[in-house]
Amino acid sequence: MSEFLDLKLIIEADCPKLTVCIKNNERNDDVEGLIAAIRTYADGKAPMLQGYFGESMVMLSQREIVRFFMDGRKVIAETSDRAYVIKKTLKEVEEDIVGNGFVRISKSEVVNLDKVKHFDFSLSGTIGLELENGACTYVSRRRIKDVKEALDGGTDHES
């Protein structure tokens, strides 16, 4: 294609998901630039969500959302500084955010793995999670496998 790079396109009918594979002899600035461009394109494809703060409606980018959780019967989207009401069920929200770095950690909560600071394990055997906005929550033991798979998927471009 050019002296800079060769572009190879593989179309397979049974391919489950758009997969990008970057091949080079080292991880240099060109590789970083390509990864950034692909991420920017992918972020642009992620649908924005309608959030309500009081009476005002705000369009929320998925990247800014730290977590979704149930407060009674309401679904709340929390960013680093505010909480918005989402007028959808958690299941409907999950359909909008699937594959965009979010993972369900319990029956009533979905978190953005990019906003997780760390996991901890208490003496009583509960798995805690601290988020970048300071919020702390709990991960269900049944969901640990899903969390691990989501983290493994996010680090795939290292392999």
């Binding site: 970083e32 990864i35 950034a36 991420r39 920017t40 990247r63 319990s106 029956k107 793995l113 990019d114 997780v116 760390h118 996991f119 901890d120 394990f121 208490s122 003496l123 009583s124 055997g125 509960t126 798995i127 709990y138 269900s140 033991r141 049944r142 640990i144 969390v147 691990k148 983290l151 493994d152 996010g154 680090t155 471009h157 290292e158």
Partner: protein
């Protein structure tokens, strides 16, 4: 399988195993004289053995309750199993009263051992998650142009 289905499955499995154990005891453990003395209560023995098995197995569902810590689930299961044992033994006199304290001690030791193993396993899983998270964060920093 949701929780209700899992509970039902465990209940039936536990009941079946309890019955099988009683079949084994009646066939190979009890002497003919002991069996003769228990003839009228035999159906009760079978039912209680089945129910005890059902309680032990289906009780493990408390480990699947999301909001419960590992400690709470373990203590609850231990309490349910031991109290059921006390009730069944008190009703059917499977064992003499003198062994109850040693049984309690052995069960407590067994559950403590299980707790230590589970704690170590889950702690290792959480440490692994933190390692994966660090790896992901390192990659994000390198590619974040926002």
């Amino acid at each position: 399988m949701n929780l209700k289905e899992k509970f039902a499955f465990l209940f039936v499995t536990g009941f079946s195993i309890g019955l099988l154990i009683m079949v084994f005891v009646v066939s190979f453990v009890l002497s003919p004289e002991e069996l003769a003395g228990e003839q009228s209560l035999l159906p009760m023995h079978f039912i209680c053995s089945g129910l005890y098995g059902a309680i032990c197995f289906s009780g493990t569902i408390c480990y699947d309750i999301e909001k419960w810590s590992l400690l709470r689930a373990t203590v609850t299961h231990f309490a349910v199993v031991f109290l059921s044992f006390l009730f069944v033994n008190g009703t059917l006199k499977w064992y003499p009263a003198e062994i109850l304290l040693p049984v309690l001690a052995m069960m407590a030791a067994g559950y403590a051992f299980i707790w230590i193993i589970m704690y170590a396993v889950w702690k290792a899983k959480v440490e692994n998650l933190n390692r994966e998270l660090e790896k992901k964060r390192f990659l994000l920093k390198k590619t974040d142009y926002a």
